[in-house]
């Protein structure tokens, strides 16, 4: 009868920058059970609707997470626009889609770098982040900030990108695609990487459906679910196919995210060709009233935004609720941790692309 020990993992540990605490119950190098405990980032920001007007709430919601910041800003603003029945001009929709897809490219490149750092391949981490800096330069050129953009507002966007700059962005994306191709070859084909990723953290299609996984985690187990097929944005005009794999292990999730980088670069280039000329914002008058909910595809999966006003129109909303994708993927993470080796624990945690600040708001 072997003894069980409990190893506390986190919130401060060298592998992940995310403060999540797990109690790993270990029996001879195999994890029997993982008990998560979160709450280190909870700020209680949904209660700030009582103090910030509805036009300023976007600055709060944008700062839920620094990596998927644009997605949160867009979702919040779309929920408010839906409740007040505001129609956004076409150019603003295209610009928002372009920024959102660039945000997806940067988020997946960031994740690939952290994955490489997680299994010890530091030079690959450095090269991936070097390629990502080119995307951050595009953000700085167009919005003024590298991480938090503050460019969405109720009724449209705050800054325009002129067509000459858009052509320049299209050319830079070709460069980025070439450099990324050299690195993603390593992730997909190198033997040492495959030894760490193949067969690790297997999640079958039934388990993934029962545990309500979203995003690349679900798409790697064979579930065809991508909110971009039905949600807001101009994806219908651009023609879009989700990337699906069936193997269900860490290698498949890595492949799904790599395919999504290339799909996003294609989407951005097509959007740049088709973008119409129009205004970028409509003026918004009056107070907030109504109720609206919408779903969006963030880099990590499906996110859900709900905005509700009081019965009388006022400057303040009554409720703003955000449900983020990592919230749904944590049960899947706990399931994949059962029965894995101790050395595979960082892989299993990183494979859901954890964003604990999104989970806890």
């Amino acid at each position: 009868m072997s003894k069980r020990t409990i190893i506390p993992f986190g919130p401060q540990h060298p592998v992940l920058p995310e403060p999540v605490h797990l109690d790993l119950v270990i029996e001879d190098e195999k994890v029997v059970e993982a008990i998560p405990s979160i709450g280190f980032i909870h700020r209680g920001l949904e209660k700030l609707v009582e103090k910030k007007e509805y036009t300023e709430m976007v600055y709060v919601i944008e700062r839920i997470c620094g990596i998927c910041s644009f997605g949160h800003g867009w979702g919040c603003v779309s929920a408010i626009e839906g409740a007040m029945d505001i129609e956004v001009p076409a150019r603003a929709d295209y610009l928002r889609t372009i920024w959102h897809e660039l945000s997806r490219v940067h988020s997946h490149l960031l994740w690939l770098g952290l994955l490489a750092d997680g299994f010890g391949f530091e030079s690959l981490f450095n090269h991936t982040w070097r390629v990502r800096e080119a995307v951050l330069d595009i953000f700085e050129e167009t919005t003024g900030g590298r991480v938090i953009f503050s460019v969405c507002k109720v009724g449209g966007v705050r800054k325009d990108i002129d067509n000459a700059t858009l052509k320049g962005i299209s050319e830079k994306l070709d460069e980025i695609r070439k450099e990324t191709a050299e690195l993603t070859d390593v992730f997909i084909e190198d033997t040492s990487v495959k030894n760490r990723l193949c067969g690790v953290g297997y999640l079958s299609k039934e388990d993934a459906t029962d545990l309500c996984t979203v995003g690349p985690m679900a798409r790697a187990s064979g579930i065809v679910q991508d909110i971009r097929l039905t949600g807001n944005g101009v994806y219908d005009d651009l023609g879009f196919e989700p990337c699906i794999e069936t193997a269900g292990d860490c290698w498949a999730r890595c492949k799904v995210r790599i395919d999504e980088i290339y799909a996003s670069i294609d989407l951005i280039q097509r959007a740049i060709e088709k973008i119409p000329d129009s205004e970028i914002a409509v003026p918004v008058k009056g107070n907030f009233h109504g109720e609206f909910a919408l779903r969006m595809e963030q880099p990590r999966g499906e996110a859900f935004y709900y905005a509700k006003g009081f019965d009388e129109p006022t400057k303040y909303m009554e409720r703003m609720r955000v449900r983020t994708p990592t919230n749904m993927n944590i049960p899947a993470m706990v399931k994949t941790l059962q029965g894995c080796d101790l050395a595979d624990v960082p892989m299993n945690i990183l494979t859901i692309d954890p964003c604990i600040s999104c989970t806890e708001r």
């Binding site: 090269h127 330069d137 503050s150 800054k159 050299e182 033997t191």
Partner: protein, 183 residues
């Protein structure tokens, strides 16, 4: 079976130009839209306090009696709300960031007193309403941040509390009949 696939990238970085920016030795060139810190053009400021109301973090304090405009640099999120809402456009977003320091930096700017000249400029005029055009809709009163205007539709009266009026110009913008003027 492929081994050392990263060899190609490694060979490339041996011969290409290094990607490092050598930051402290080589100063950084900013992009045009980079958001660094907020600058104020003191002579134009009319101390209306719109920036203070719109700031999401309450980083700006406007003191009308002491004629100062104070910003806590360690609370400013560089969102640009204040620059968008300033009626006199005296705030701009500069590109350099506030330098890190051992204390919490609070910048105080003295706003010069405007001279009271007869028939003077917009900053020290009086808000006047052309009562012939006025339809007493009350939009000016609803939008006044200081609640200085009182409008009564039944009695057809329009009253202004001049002590409270900061001459920010919001009412003149919103008036549908354009009967309000600061002169």
């Amino acid at each position: 079976m492929s081994v050392f696939k990263i060899g190609k990238v490694v060979m490339g970085s041996l011969f290409k130009k290094p990607a490092t920016l050598m930051y402290p030795v080589v100063p950084r060139e900013w992009q045009e839209r980079t958001r660094g810190h907020i600058d104020i053009n003191e002579p134009d400021c009319i101390l209306c306090g719109m920036c203070m109301r719109k700031c999401p973090t309450n980083a700006i304090t406007v003191d009308r009696d002491a004629h100062t405009w104070v910003i806590q640099r360690m609370k400013c999120i560089q969102c640009g709300c204040c620059t968008d809402n300033c009626p006199k456009k005296c705030l701009t977003m500069a590109q350099t960031y506030t330098a890190p320091s051992v204390t919490k930096v609070i910048d105080t700017f003295e706003i010069p007193q405007k001279e009271k000249a007869a028939g003077g400029g917009a900053a020290d005029g009086k808000l006047q309403n052309n009562q012939d055009e006025c339809i007493y809709c009350g939009i000016c009163a609803k939008n006044c941040p200081q609640e200085a205007i009182e409008v009564n539709r039944d009695e057809k009266s329009w009253k202004l509390d001049e002590d409270k009026c900061v001459k920010c110009g919001l009412c003149t913008e919103k008036c549908p009949k354009k009967c309000l003027e600061i002169k």
